[in-house]
């Protein structure tokens, strides 16, 4: 079968995993292009075609260009409605949407900010542990909510994996590599049992790859 388009992304990047997983379950092929961070996205060819110069970036076989990981994943899913990735009704689709939004804004945003703080992307010598703490607490609140509301007998929206499960699992994997060490993960047994179910699905196991969970949350880099 012919690929539906090309994807520039990094196989380790959470958003790229969303898209490849959606494609795998939808039975569609997406052509992952070679991409070297700092090189490909600075090359004139790339920047002229994709001015925002961020990954993932998708270019359909018909020339259709799309940005934003979750949006690309949703588009891929929408091309195979029988896959059940967006549920089986308008209301299912809305609930899939709701969980994706929750995962990205109420969990992942905080992982990203904490990563930026500890890796010193923020141009200030002093690491701000106050902000770190406040943001970590917001994430905890969301994780507690997810922990209490997961029904382990099914998936988030239907009895089958939907795009919501793929994206929540991707977000959890990322959090467990940055903000959630072994001690923190032990606070959310349902969440991590759910993660194993989703990421262990034979169709997407290799896309999610090795867990690479951290023992302790990533510590702030020492001031140079």
């Amino acid at each position: 079968m012919a690929p539906i388009g090309s994807l520039w992304g990094d196989a380790r990047q959470r958003q790229t995993k969303y898209i490849l997983s959606a494609a795998a379950i939808a039975g569609l092929e997406v052509d992952l292009q070679p991409f070297e961070f700092g090189v490909t996205n600075k090359s004139p060819e790339f920047v002229n075609k994709f001015p925002f110069a961020k990954i993932p970036t998708f270019e359909g076989e018909d020339g259709f260009i799309l940005l934003e990981g979750a949006s690309i994943a949703r588009y891929v899913a929408s091309l195979a409605p029988e896959s059940g990735l967006l549920g089986n009704s308008i209301k299912d689709a809305a609930l899939v949407d709701q969980w994706i939004h929750f995962a990205e804004h109420e969990i992942n945003t905080f992982t990203d900010y904490i990563w930026q703080l500890v890796e010193r992307f923020v141009p200030e010598k002093a690491y701000s542990e106050n902000i770190h703490k406040v943001i970590a607490e917001r994430q905890e609140r969301s994780l507690k909510f997810l922990e209490q509301n997961l029904d382990l007998r099914k998936f988030l929206v239907t009895d089958e994996i939907t795009l919501a499960d793929i994206i929540v699992a991707g977000v959890i994997q990322r959090a467990a590599r940055v903000t959630l060490g072994a001690a923190e993960r032990a606070l959310y047994p349902n969440v991590f049992a759910y993660y194993e179910r989703v990421a262990g699905d034979p169709r997407i196991k290799d896309i999610f790859g090795a867990k690479d969970f951290v023992e302790v949350p990533v510590a702030p880099k020492k001031d140079e």
Binding site: P51, F52, G60, F64, L66, L67, E68, A70, S71, I72, R74, Y75, S78, L79, I90, K91, A93, A94, L95, D97, Q98, I100, H101, F102, E104, H105, T109, Y113, Q116, L117, F121, V122, P123, E124, K125, A126, S128, E129, N130, I131, K133, V134, I135, R138, R141, F145, Q148, N149, G181, A183, E184, V216, P217, A219, D223, E224
Partner: protein, 422 residues
């Protein structure tokens, strides 16, 4: 026509404007019940429908409950396919999706954190403020180029993307995108004006407050009640709904305790040459050890008549378990010392490992009596305070420097994690 459902929300939130606008264009009637944030969303009835307790929350007339602003907007838009709000092809829908996601992650997220810091929901950091404003500008310039040849974001008519864009941008131009920045965003401003003045949407969006100069942080004065001072151009709303609105979460706001009625005895001490705020800045901006480090600054500027240095040790180390929990305990202790912020600096850590650790560190405080500076914290007596004499006493000096540099080691236990009070 019967209402399609109820929306629990507060008027000023961007998500509220988005959802109302979608309904206006889609020709759907939306019921907005009386709603008091922080109380109505904590009732058992509300939580039974919406367990996470957040707004906006949509209760469909048919009993379908949905949360998360954009998903609610998208669902309602989908109920009126002829409105064109979601485009007329999968590609259109995907592009609308893309722009919505872009606005939320690459524009609104930054305004949210910056605004949160300016209103004291988060501790303020100038570095983070600058960093986020720069990233946001990059996104806005991408948008600017896209809009240079277009009236609407996708296709030739208004879609969900335009509505969300306008809601987000209306806030951006009142917080970060000031007159100087807007000079680079002519098409974006033109676009914003076009959308907010659409006849069906004008009343929902209301007037746009264009800020002259990007909002700057003004630290709260202790004497006032927790009122975040923001630029006068901000909309005049009642304090409480405004705070709730800019954050769709439950923020219990500023936890600054009230000023004690009698004057603090530490205020009555004779003036000192050592400026605690300058020290805090030096500690934050310099390396601790080495040439031109903060320790060097400290020894050059410290006034041992006006201030004193103390070793602080937790009394019940055998109770300590996980390192991160002990670290949280220090954080809690520091939170409760807030009333002494003007008189105190601390660097305290957890040394050792889980179930074999101690809490230990130093305080630099005004005056010669530790109790006067720390007794505002109800749990101050859980710690031992030992005055350190830095001048000639080598072990004291080594302890002090280790606590500041976060490399202190005591009885073989190494510094694992710590907190600063500054």
């Amino acid at each position: 026509m019967a209402p399609v459902g109820k929306l629990y929300c507060v008027p000023v939130m961007t998500q509220t404007k988005t959802i109302k606008s979608v309904c206006a264009v889609a020709g759907l009637e939306l019921e907005i019940p009386e709603y008091k944030h922080f109380s109505d969303n904590r009732t058992p009835e509300f939580l039974a429908k919406f367990p996470h307790g957040m707004i906006p929350a949509f209760e469909g007339a048919d009993g379908f409950n949905l949360t998360e602003g954009v998903p609610i907007a998208r669902y309602l838009a989908g109920r009126a396919p002829n409105s064109g709000l979601l485009g007329s092809s999968p590609e259109d829908a995907a592009l609308i999706d893309q722009w919505v996601h872009f606005f939320e992650s690459e524009v609104a997220a930054h305004t949210d954190i910056i605004s949160g810091m300016l209103k004291n929901f988060f501790p303020y950091s100038k570095g983070i403020h600058t960093f986020l404003a720069e990233r946001q500008l990059r996104s806005l310039l991408t948008l600017e180029t896209h809009l240079s040849t277009r009236t609407f974001l996708v296709g030739d008519r208004i879609t969900l993307a335009d509505i969300i864009a306008a809601s987000v941008l209306q806030r951006v131009v009142s917080v970060t995108a000031d007159a100087a920045v807007r000079a680079k965003l002519i098409n974006t401003v033109r676009f914003l004006e076009t959308i907010v003045h659409q006849p069906k949407l004008e009343a929902i969006y209301g007037p746009t407050e264009y800020v002259e100069k990007a909002l700057q942080y003004v630290p709260p004065k202790k004497e006032k009640a927790p009122a975040p001072p923001v630029a006068p151009k901000e909309k005049k709303e009642k304090e409480k709904p405004k705070k709730a609105a800019d954050d769709d979460e439950e923020d219990d706001g500023n936890l600054v305790p009230e000023e004690p009625k009698e004057k603090n005895p530490l205020e009555l001490l004779p003036k000192s040459t050592f400026n605690l705020e300058d020290w805090k800045r030096a500690y934050s901006n310099k390396d601790t050890r080495g040439a031109d480090g903060s320790l060097e600054w400290f020894y050059a500027n410290f006034d041992k008549e006006g201030f004193s240095v103390w070793r602080v040790d937790f009394k019940y180390n055998e109770e300590l378990t996980q390192v991160f929990m002990s670290s949280n305990q220090i954080g809690g202790f520091f939170n409760r010392l807030e009333a002494s912020r003007k008189y105190l600096f601390g660097s305290v850590g957890v040394l050792g490992e889980a179930n074999a650790s101690i809490i230990s560190g130093v305080l630099i405080l005004r005056g010669q009596d530790s109790k006067a500076a720390v007794d505002c914290a109800p749990d101050f007596e859980s710690y031992d305070y030992t005055k350190l004499d830095g001048s000639d006493n080598e072990p004291d000096k080594a302890f002090f420097e280790g606590a500041l540099a976060w490399d202190l080691e005591v009885n073989g236990k190494k510094w694992a994690d710590g907190k600063n009070f500054k």
